[in-house]
Amino acid sequence: MKTQFKAPLLGAAAASLLTAPAQASTVDETVNAIFANSTGWFVSFIFSPFPGTSFPWIVAWLVIAATIFTFYFGLIQARGFKHAIQLVKGDYSDPDDAGEVSHFQALATALSGTVGLGNIAGVAVAVGIGGPGATFWMILAGLMGMASKFTECTLGVKYRNEFPNGTVSGGPMYYITKGFEERGLKGGKPLAILFAIFCIFGAFGGGNMFQANQAHAQLTNVLGDYPGYITGIIFAAIVFAVIAGGLKSIAKVTEKVVPFMGVLYVITALIILLINFDQIGWAFGQIFEGAFTGLGVAGGLAGALIQGFKRAAFSNEAGVGSAAIAHSAVKTKEPVTEGYVSLLEPFIDTVVICTMTALVIIITGQLMVDPETGLYMVGENGAIQTASGNTGVALTSAAFSATFGWFRYVLALAVILFAFSTMLSWSYYGLKAWTFLFGEGKAKELTFKVIFCLFVIVGAAASLGPVIDFSDASIFAMAVVNIIGLYFLMPIVKRELDSYVSRLKSGEIKKFK
């Protein structure tokens, strides 16, 4: 049951603090009740459908933007794909610039922020509600999203702030402010402030609570049931040690282990697909059929589409603006090159890794099909009934464990590491937004870090529903502001792109390898 609150977040939380203990007995339930009550209004607003339909306006917002960027930049995802790979390989890197951040490093670091639970748990949620057809829309959204990423990351580099000590800060709040000024447009600053506020919410929601929540789900799956706040406190303590205590070694280890976990995950998925290679054709059949008919899922075609697009956006963050923060620190003379490189991100994240997860879930028969009609059996809550009765990360775990029993332990480790690295990434994004609003300073930064860690505990203790809703809502709210900015600034990107491409053709931009 969701109560609608019009009061601000904190007021609502305080109000429910007084009423909640009467109905809830455990700490987890209390946290959960407060959480669901205090964020409900925000979630309802972001996901309100077009009048008379079940289609949330926010999903249309992202899809339309990605489509516009795709056409505006002339299918840059196809045209620029080869060049993006050449850039990552370092073919165009001046050897004299060695020692600066390479394109590969920027991509790897940005990827470690996006490859995470969205690829494991988010896909399971999409397929669990939207059926196999959601995969089709997810892949499509991934391909389209490449153009959104290209746009925002080019701007991120072009309008970053370079501080006298040599460090850099960038992202939508900077390009919206400076870009609008440059074009003589009003309203840049308020828009940038709005973005920064949503970015902080996003850092607390999708970048934090969702991660803690799913990490706890996976831990109970392996270790047996125990209260969520225990996981929360342990996680919060480690995160705090890293981001506030300067325990850089943990961050470094995470940064190095996460890519290998990602590769291990993909290889395992590939092996499972190879073992069941005779069913791959059938699985793709289900994906295509489901994409256009829904195969009996709640909401039919639209249900599959909404789930696919939502999860893709949540996983690859295209249009959200977070990647622009991560990519903007790269040292490059040409902002467009970083745009090129960043378009590989949704491709690797969504088109490759998310599809792997979806295929494994479908092929291992996790989703229950009614043998008579061939349609998926939908439970009371609108989700497809699964063989193990699982949702979220547990569903993915069940799918992988169906072939390799031991994989649930590897997955548990992967989930925890992914969750951790995503939390670190988002603590960075959130902090950048925070310092944009409040200025830089030790005490101000510490305040943010403490609040961030408190939300880790809340996230681990709350049940999946309210957390996932708030995570989505906060991340999508960022996309609302960011995409408005992108529409106004895309002519600047176009100019950069045209100039770069012509110089590339004329040979002014040299290949070094």
Partner: protein
Amino acid sequence: MTEKIVVAYDGSENAHNAVNFALDVAKAKGATLIVAHVLEWSPYSFLTKTEIEERHMRRKEELERADKAIVSPLLKELQTSGVEVEVLVKYGHTAETLLAIVKESGAKQLVIGRTGQSSISTRLFGSVAGTLAQAAPVAVTIVP
């Protein structure tokens, strides 16, 4: 055009021996000495977000430190030798970068110090001296 000799220098004692050896050769031949200092760096390593943010600043610091602690003291020493000396400080994989310097400068010889280590990692991945002895297109002198 005078002949060129590349000598690798990392501030260690062996490297110092290598420089002295190369200096004698250069004197005898009237050659130019190219002192190369390589800062080990891979564009394919993984960095955290904060490391990326600070990289440009750190690179500057690293170059300044290399100049102050390693290159400048050596240059001072070589000032009186009467041999023409060039200095190159570069980032990269040590052996590959030295090879690139040799090729680019058209040097006829490469002089390096032996690290004298026999650690497990050397056994597994080979040493810089070993790699250069195998791969260099010019004569390589390894000074103990």
